[in-house]
Symmetry: C2
Subunit: 120 residues, 2 copies
DNA sequence: CCAACCTTGACACGCTTCTGATAAGGTTGT
DNA sequence: ACAACCTTATCAGAAGCGTGTCAAGGTTGG
């Protein structure tokens, strides 16, 4: 027995079958499929399901938030934009006069945000 | 005029005053306060508010999700746990026999998840 | 002192997330 | 062939997000 079907996986991970499909929709854990379309959960998937539960419970986060973290890893433009937004601390670098600060910051963000680069 | 009150800030950023308080609750932009408690938005905050709007719209993300990104930056334990969860790809490292894989992974996660370290 | 602002707290409403349940139909093993 | 499983799709309800609005009260500047 090397891979479990959805209800078996549900029993051994503490999720419900319904939620396993939902977790899959959220893009977090996508089990392989048998030729007839049955989901097949291997040891790695099972383990990830268990630790995902711990993660959600311990830190009180939702699937959407972990899904967002996943998106941050896949979408370079998004990650760059978010990184940049956080990097722009409310403190202007020495050498930039106050009057120019706003325009300077705006240009910087504009450059990053404008290109509508579709990240497949 | 170096800092704006909440309604002035709302007018120049496109947010509503209500939403500025909400954004603050989400832990994203915390303006300084006057001695009597009025919120004071300086140029940097105003700029961050504007770019935050662009970020949300361009990538269709919610405040909670950016709030989660903020939390990821502040809470070391959370970030480590999330990083670790994503790093555990469904592929076992060479040299670990299949039978030990589950336990190995479990221990690894357990170590990371167990310590209830309060991150102020 | 009075208008015009600010504060926090709360109610409300529409939309999404999370979760279970149920239905209609395909697969599997004995 | 039949029970027991799987699939997708849908309804439904509790909880949370995003937003406006209102209430009761403090601050500010003529």
């Amino acid at each position: 027995m090397d891979a479990l079907t959805i209800n078996e996986a549900a029993r051994t991970t503490g999720w419900s079958a319904r939620m396993l499909r939902y977790v899959e929709d959220a893009g977090l854990i996508e089990p392989s499929r048998s030729t007839s379309g049955y989901r097949l959960y291997g040891p790695a998937e099972l383990q990830r399901l268990r630790t995902l539960r711990q993660l959600l419970e311990r830190f009180d986060v939702g699937l959407t938030e972990v899904g967002f973290a996943a998106r941050l890893r896949r979408d370079d433009a998004l990650r760059a934009a978010v990184d940049h937004w956080f990097a722009a601390l409310p403190r202007r670098p020495a050498g930039v006069p106050a009057d120019d600060w706003l325009r300077w910051e705006q240009d910087k963000h504009q450059k990053l945000l404008m290109p509508i680069k579709e990240t497949a």
